[in-house]
Every structure is written in structure tokens, then in C-alpha cells.
Amino acid sequence: MSGVMKRMGMIFRAKANKALDRAEDPRETLDYSYQKQLELLQKVRRGVADVATSRKRLELQLNQLQSQSSKLEDQGRKALALGREDLAREALSRRAALQQQVTDLETQHQTLQGEEEKLTLAAQRLQAKVDAFRTKKETIKATYTAAQAQTRIGEAFSGISEEMGDVGMAIQRAEDKTAQLQARAGAIDELLASGALDDQSGLAKDDIQSELDRLSGGTDVELELQRMKAELAGGSSSSQQAIEGGTGQSPSQQQPQDTPRFDKQ
């Protein structure tokens, strides 16, 4: 890989020993995330305010339409009282048109109200999350700072401080690498020995197997000897055991439970 991702990563790593990078300092990152969350919260709140404003405007329009509608109704009633049926019809037909608008606006109003409730709930949830994040962030930052201070103290004690310069750091890195490789080699040896890893050469496993075969072979000989001794010494006692109801076990049967047996891995 030679793209931007890799190159940025390499630069970060190369520089990380000289200075703690801002973007890679978890405390800075946490603060930045918190800032972003606050901005998001602000946006959601602004959204709630916008929706509430639109809702208010609709309510005002609705009130106006409704008062116009009742005015037209009164006018129609008066016109009818004066015997002007044509005027009354005109007023009522205008009122019907207004009523249609009122219905439309009421539907819009309901939708907006639903949106507002949803957004308010979202804002409350987000607020709770942001609060929780702030607490967690401060805890992590404190832990990180403490760990960093501890590392600095450790470095000062062992003489590996920044004042030692690049040479000292390079030596330290080389030593770390060596220790890591040694630890890895040791771990691989242990894993091979335990059988958790297969040795591709097949040599290590053969050695272990032959040792196991040798041990289990010896155990079998011992068992055989004990069984024969028991046969010779206690011909009568074996018949006694048979009379006692077969609950007793002969020494050769008991032995496998007491003596550890080696199973193939």
C-alpha cells in the first residue's frame, strides 16, 4: 500500500517518538468528539426551534382564517335576515372555501406537531448521551494523564528521557524489538512444546510423542507386573471378591483411575 492512508500512518508513527501528535492524543480526540457532539446537539435544538416557529405561524394563520370564517357566517346570517339570499349564498360559498384551507392547515399543523415532539425527544436523548460522554471523557483523560505521568517517571528513572536524544531512543527501540522477538520465540517454543502449534518440520512432535510412548509403555509394564503379582499372591482373595457381589474391583481395574495416563494430544 502506498496511498494516502499508509503514508499518513507512517508519518504519524515516525513523528510519534519526537512529540505527541495532537490528532493522535486521545485526550484531544475525545475533546474534539465532544465538541462535535455539542455542535450536533445545537443543530438538533435549532431544528426543534425552527419547527416550533413554523407551528406557531400556522396557528396564527388558522386563527385568522377561523375568524374570517365566522365573520362570513355572520354576514350570511344578516343577509338572509334582510332577505338577500344571493348575498347570503356568496358569503357561505366563500366560507366553504376558507373551511377547506382551514382543514389543510390543520393537517399541516398536526404533522408539524408530530415532528416537533420527535425532535424534542431526540434532543433530550442526545443531551443525555452528550452528558454521559462528557463524564466518561473526563475520566479517560484523567486516567491517560496519570498513565502518561507514570511513564515519564519511569523513563526518567531508567535514564531514557527525551534529553537522551534520538540515539538513546534508537537503542531503546532496538532493545525493545529484541526483547519482543525473544519473547515471541519463547512463546512459540512453548506453544510447540504444548502441542498447541504444529511444528511444520515434524521433529518436535515426534520427540514429544516418543517420550509419551516411552512413558506410557513403562506404565503398562508396571501395571502388568502388579496384575501378575496380585494373581499369584491372592488367588483366594479374588474368589472372595466374587462372593461379595462384584462391587469390588481388582487392582488392575483400579489402577487406571489412580495412575495418570497420557493421552495423545
Partner: protein, 92 residues
């Protein structure tokens, strides 16, 4: 492997996705070198989108070093070029 999107956080990515991401990453580098600002933004958007889609975000509490690092979504071509210049990400 762990990938950091600067200013956004870290995600854990399965190595099997690297081939797909590499293509976009190389494209991004080519656009950066040729100075194609528009293409750079488009590819960066696709790359960030793919990383977000294919990766699992690491919890905020996790403090793990990143193996790969990507510029923030709003980074300009000049900013990224500066980051990759000899001075690197940390001046001095």
C-alpha cells in the same frame, strides 16, 4: 487493523477489505498529486464512506494506536498535501 479518520474516531477493519480500499486510496493519492481538487474530494468521500461502512467503530474509551490514518472529511487538498510534506504532521 485499526484505521483512524482524523477528527472522527477509529474503526476496526478486517484485512480482507484492504484490496477494495487500496484502490480508492491509490486513486486519492493520484488525484492529490495531480491537483484534482474535485476528484480528491469525491474519492475521499467514497473512501471514508467505505471505511465507515465496512469497519466497526471502536468505542470512544478505547485508546489504541492507529495503523492507517485518513484525513478528515472536510480536509482540503492543500491541507493533506501539507500533512504529507517533509515536515509531516507535526511542524518542527
Amino acid at each position: 487493523m485499526i484505521v483512524r479518520i482524523m477528527g472522527e474516531g477509529q474503526v476496526r477493519l478486517d484485512d480482507s477489505h484492504l484490496t477494495e480500499l487500496n484502490k480508492l486510496d491509490d486513486e486519492l493519492l493520484a488525484e492529490m498529486e495531480s491537483g484534482d481538487e474535485e476528484g480528491f474530494h469525491r474519492t475521499l468521500g467514497s473512501l471514508l464512506g467505505a471505511v465507515r461502512r465496512l469497519g466497526d467503530p471502536l468505542p470512544d474509551a478505547s485508546l489504541e494506536p492507529s495503523e492507517l490514518i485518513l484525513p478528515s472529511p472536510d480536509a482540503t487538498l492543500d491541507e493533506v498535501r501539507e500533512m504529507l510534506s517533509d515536515d509531516g504532521l507535526i511542524p518542527g
